[in-house]
Subunit: 375 residues, 2 copies
């Protein structure tokens, strides 16, 4: 490893095992050193950013959302555990940076780095890289190049890796669908659900979207139809005889071979019954907090298979080329207006605003939409 | 279609649409013309066997078991519906022949038949071909050639297509297992469960076998261990902390990647938790009559997939060559003593014995073992 840097000519003042010497940049981050309620354990931390080395890059964060999984992770209730580390040579404590999703811009590149250049926009290569911070220095492999497309908003870029990519992969990886084929999903108005509607429409697929019944159901029905939903059905109606007849009149012999479930419980079982023989049923959430209950006949006689999908795991076991290919497709759909910006609310980048917003973050997309920090 | 026969030189006396002219053989069968309790709807039927044609074969049944699915089918509670047909030119009623499994011997072959010869032993190519009958005439494609192996008993041959083949396929088709890998199953003392134990042992796989607790559990434990079971655990113990520690001490990091379930309910959920990441869980029965309840975390974070297996469907969608390959492997295991004869009780081939035995047949393998008619 050389000590030559493209943007910093001064040699670092010191090297210590475990962290780099620092740059002239002062970074700030929302950090925690133990699990708990976000507002209790999150702290504002300012520190001198570690210096660039020949194999690292420096990035400046542009925008990072607050996702439900971020809250779970701080509570210690997420299967991916945070990495506690010294963020700077000045730190005496091991700290984890909150947040998992976000978009950043490369501001400096070590001379041995091949994949990234100054000005590139990046997302995180893997889940667990804290994104509630202004800057970071790290190996190029921590970051994933984002296709350069000016028609895609910063909010879309900051929220691309979780919801749109989940929708994209689930529509692509479990069953070969042809133009005109049906997909059935619950949580049709969730962020992933909306992305499923948009991508399906772009690909010529039809969607049956199950949503919770509510007083203003017609408004929601119209919103989802405007997004491209073929049909909208309430969870209460799903198990009814007349709904079975109705859905049969839509799909005929061409029953859906893909079901997407983020709810669980009765709604999920009811939905599984609409799948055709050899169908694939993919669970990516459990908003009802109830398990999935499966009559054996669906498994044995209809040969329906039940899978899970977790985009974090997908990203972990796939190459940067595969990730880039996906991002390129999703960015294309966004730039063509086929996949819109999520509803969002800006969160101010200060300690109190962050604490309050992260405590609220478990409810995710509801209310004022996705909470996003703009740095 | 010619009118030349290898074994009958006299031309058939008459041709009528829907059935052949008859041979000199008087066949008998247990038939039904409507769904209901077996003893209520099953009738003894004697009829003149249809004559051979150039494209058909005639077989004489040697032995046929009474399986639980046979009873379900007569009750109208099985996804495969019986074929009602005229069995002979003398019949004025459409009749279905009971039974789905059995072994027969070819006694005559039409001159255009390529695949079978007199003396060959066959099983049924597909589920739904009535096997509670002494003889049948039909196209060669109704029958599946059985490898000729004198070391395999008639009982083994009569019961080969359902239980041993189910065990064989489930161990082969869902995950690539290597020597020393663990498989976990419930219903470890069922007929399929015992075949899983035998085949696993022959292939160098280790098994954790879950059984219902009972007063003479040590006797059962010994029986299964003698068959080749690596470990036997009761369903009551499966969810306990000390069992988790025990199983962990057996498998170490090499967690089972295949789980086989014929029980459902809590026992099945408890079992699924023992699978390693990316494990496959296959349901082929639901003896508890309870659905399979799946926490979303098993699907999403452990990426376990849940499938069903139904050997009838497998046979339907695979070629006779694929079926023969499987039968050859299973017959080999039997002839090497690695897959034993099931416990069985003979059923007399007369109307009253059959009615009584079929009514009892829903309990399947329990008590005196598999009920088998020897013709």
């Amino acid at each position: 490893m050389g000590l030559l840097f493209r943007t910093f000519t001064k040699a670092p003042r010191q090297w210590r095992r475990g962290y780099s010497s620092h740059s002239d940049i002062t970074a700030s981050a929302m950090v925690y050193s133990e699990y708990g309620q976000p507002s209790q354990v999150l702290k504002w931390h300012s520190y001198r950013l570690p210096a660039l080395t020949s194999t690292t890059v420096q990035v400046k964060f542009l925008a990072s959302p607050i996702n439900p999984a971020d809250v779970n992770m701080i509570q210690g209730a997420y299967p991916i555990k945070p990495t506690y580390q010294k963020l700077s040579s000045d730190d005496d404590k091991l700290l984890a940076v909150g947040g998992n999703e976000g978009v950043a811009q490369v501001i400096a590149v070590g001379d041995q780095v091949q994949d990234l250049k100054v000005g590139d926009q990046v997302v995180m290569a893997n889940t667990g890289y804290g994104t509630w911070r202004t800057h970071a220095t790290g190996p190029a492999s921590d970051f994933q190049l984002l296709p350069n497309n000016k028609k895609v908003s910063m909010i879309q870029k900051a929220t691309i890796t979780v919801n749109p990519c989940t929708a994209y992969r689930m529509l692509k990886d479990f069953v070969k669908l042809n133009q005109g084929d049906y997909v059935i999903q619950n949580g049709g108005n969730s962020a992933v659900g909306q992305a499923v509607i948009g991508i399906s429409k772009a690909w010529g697929l039809k969607t049956i979207n199950v949503v919770r019944n509510r007083p203003d159901i017609d408004k929601l029905r119209k919103e989802l139809t405007d997004l491209g939903a073929t049909h909208v059905v309430t969870d209460e109606d799903l198990g009814k005889h007349e709904t079975r007849a109705l859905i049969k009149s839509w799909v005929g012999e061409n029953k859906p071979l893909l079901g997407l479930n983020c709810v669980g419980g009765k709604s999920a079982t009811d939905m599984a019954r609409y799948l055709g023989e050899n169908g694939q049923f993919v669970t990516y959430g459990a908003m009802s907090r109830k398990p999935l209950s499966l009559p054996a006949s669906l498994l044995i006689f209809k040969n329906i298979s039940f899978h899970g999908f977790w985009v974090s795991k997908w990203a972990e076991v796939h190459s940067k080329e595969a990730r880039y290919q996906m991002l390129e497709d999703v960015v294309d759909l966004m730039s063509q207006g086929k996949l819109g910006e999520p509803k969002w609310t800006q969160v101010k980048w200060d300690e109190e605003s962050m604490k309050t917003s992260v405590d609220q973050g478990i409810t995710g997309f509801s209310g004022g939409g996705k909470q996003v920090v703009i740095f």
